[in-house]
């Protein structure tokens, strides 16, 4: 079960590292949390892949409504809210 922002961050971290696997250094969740989509150089297709993988893991629909300057912790918080809505 994924319920907290930190659990979602761990999941995001795994997925981002998988998408950026060609890069030598992997991020850990604590560093990733404060980085924005733009800083991570995630393209719109990278984001699509990330969100699709998160949807599969979490079983929820997630719209791609994140601007380039959204920090990953905010992505995680948005997803936590979506999960809470689903569980109501």
């Amino acid at each position: 079960m994924f319920n907290t922002s930190s659990q979602i961050m761990d999941l995001i971290c795994t997925e981002v590292n998988s998408i950026k696997k060609h890069e030598s250094a992997e991020c850990d969740a604590s560093i990733l949390a404060s980085l924005t989509i733009e800083e991570l150089e995630l393209t719109s297709l990278d984001m699509l892949e990330l969100i699709m993988n998160l949807e599969e893991s979490l079983g929820i629909d997630i719209d791609l409504e994140f601007s380039a300057n959204t920090a990953m912790v905010d992505v995680a918080n948005t997803i936590v809210k979506s999960l809470a809505t689903k569980n109501v």
């Binding site: 733009e38 393209t43 699509l48 699709m52 949807e55 997630i62 719209d63 791609l64 380039a68």
Partner: protein, 311 residues
């Protein structure tokens, strides 16, 4: 997130580009092919539909698809008008007996659209309901899972049908939001512009005074300069066709798009507005704006709550 930049243009440059042969329509189907390949997900039915919608096509392909859909649209033209007449009369009666809130989505635009879609599309309710959801595929932020779900539903429906079915679904997909959302937004705008006035004292505009769809996207075929700004081949330009800064005349002229991409549903839309405004303008009831909330589901502005009061 690195998205291709979109340049917004207004006024004459926007109109010129929207109708220019040097620019093509935004090829939504190609974008889905790109996405499908990247995330290894089957969007083939969504692509089939998107590549059948004239709004995303250019050149001969556009002409052929438009013609094919125009034939299907024209087959039921008289029946469409009859269906609209009936619902407009029912709506007018409902307003006459109302003293209080009137829901412009549930009591006006949805019944009118339902009557229209039932005439245009002879398929099951499941098909028609799906067609109402399919414009979600145009929304760039749509959840990948939801895209897949819509694709799968479409696959199940298309496998049992023919070209006629695809044409009917295409007409409904392109019509539902511009028609129903624009209708609700327009009556709400009339209420805001004429607070407390009797309907019979209002000078109704000759066409929808508000629109759910206010721009078209075009792609530059070659390097070019517009209003002194250079654009390289492949640039995406958002041409604003309807805006509060434009005159009523321009908005009315561009409401249904520009040039060869003019909306196929224009005749029934114009008919609906004329019938509705004509019958409303005979009422002694006063109109008062109430709640309006909208959601941006690019490229559409969708009212989620749209109420007026009649007294």
């Amino acid at each position: 997130m690195k998205n291709p930049a979109i340049t917004n243009l207004y006024g004459e440059p926007a109109s010129n580009i929207a109708s220019s042969d040097d620019f093509i329509a935004f090829p939504m189907g190609s974008k889905y092919r790109e996405i499908s390949s990247r995330i290894a997900t089957d969007y083939s039915s969504a692509i089939q539909l998107l590549e059948s919608l004239p709004v995303f096509l250019s050149g001969d392909e556009h002409k052929e698809r438009r013609k094919s859909m125009a034939v299907v649209y024209a087959q039921t033209r008289k029946l469409q008008e009859k269906a609209i007449d009936q619902v407009v009369n029912e709506v007018a009666q409902s307003i006459e007996h109302r003293h209080g809130a009137f829901n412009l989505i549930d009591e006006l635009s949805t019944p009118l659209w339902t009557a229209l879609r039932n005439v245009i599309c002879t398929e099951s309710r499941e098909v028609k309901d799906l067609a109402s959801e399919l414009p979600e595929l145009f929304y760039p932020g749509l959840s990948p899972r939801r895209r897949k779900s819509l694709n799968n539903k479409l696959t199940n429906i298309l496998k049992s049908g023919n070209d006629q079915l695809l044409n009917q679904i295409a007409l409904l997909t392109l019509g539902v939001r511009p028609f129903s959302a624009s209708l609700a937004l327009s009556i709400h705008k009339i209420a805001r512009d004429n607070v407390g006035k009797r309907l019979c004292d209002i000078v109704f505009p000759t066409s929808f005074p508000d629109s759910a769809l206010t721009y078209v996207d075009r792609i530059s075929l070659r390097d070019t300069v517009i209003d002194g700004c250079p654009f390289s081949a492949g640039s995406r330009i958002r041409c604003t066709t309807f805006d509060s800064s434009y005159t009523d005349e321009i908005n009315s002229k561009q409401l249904y798009g520009i040039g060869s991409h003019t909306c196929l549903g224009r005749p029934i839309s114009v008919y609906t507005w004329n019938r509705l405004s004509n019958i409303l303008s005979q009422s002694q009831k006063t109109i008062h704006p109430s709640v309006l909330s909208v959601e941006d589901r690019e490229p559409f502005t969708i009212p989620t709550k749209c109420l007026v009061n009649f007294k």
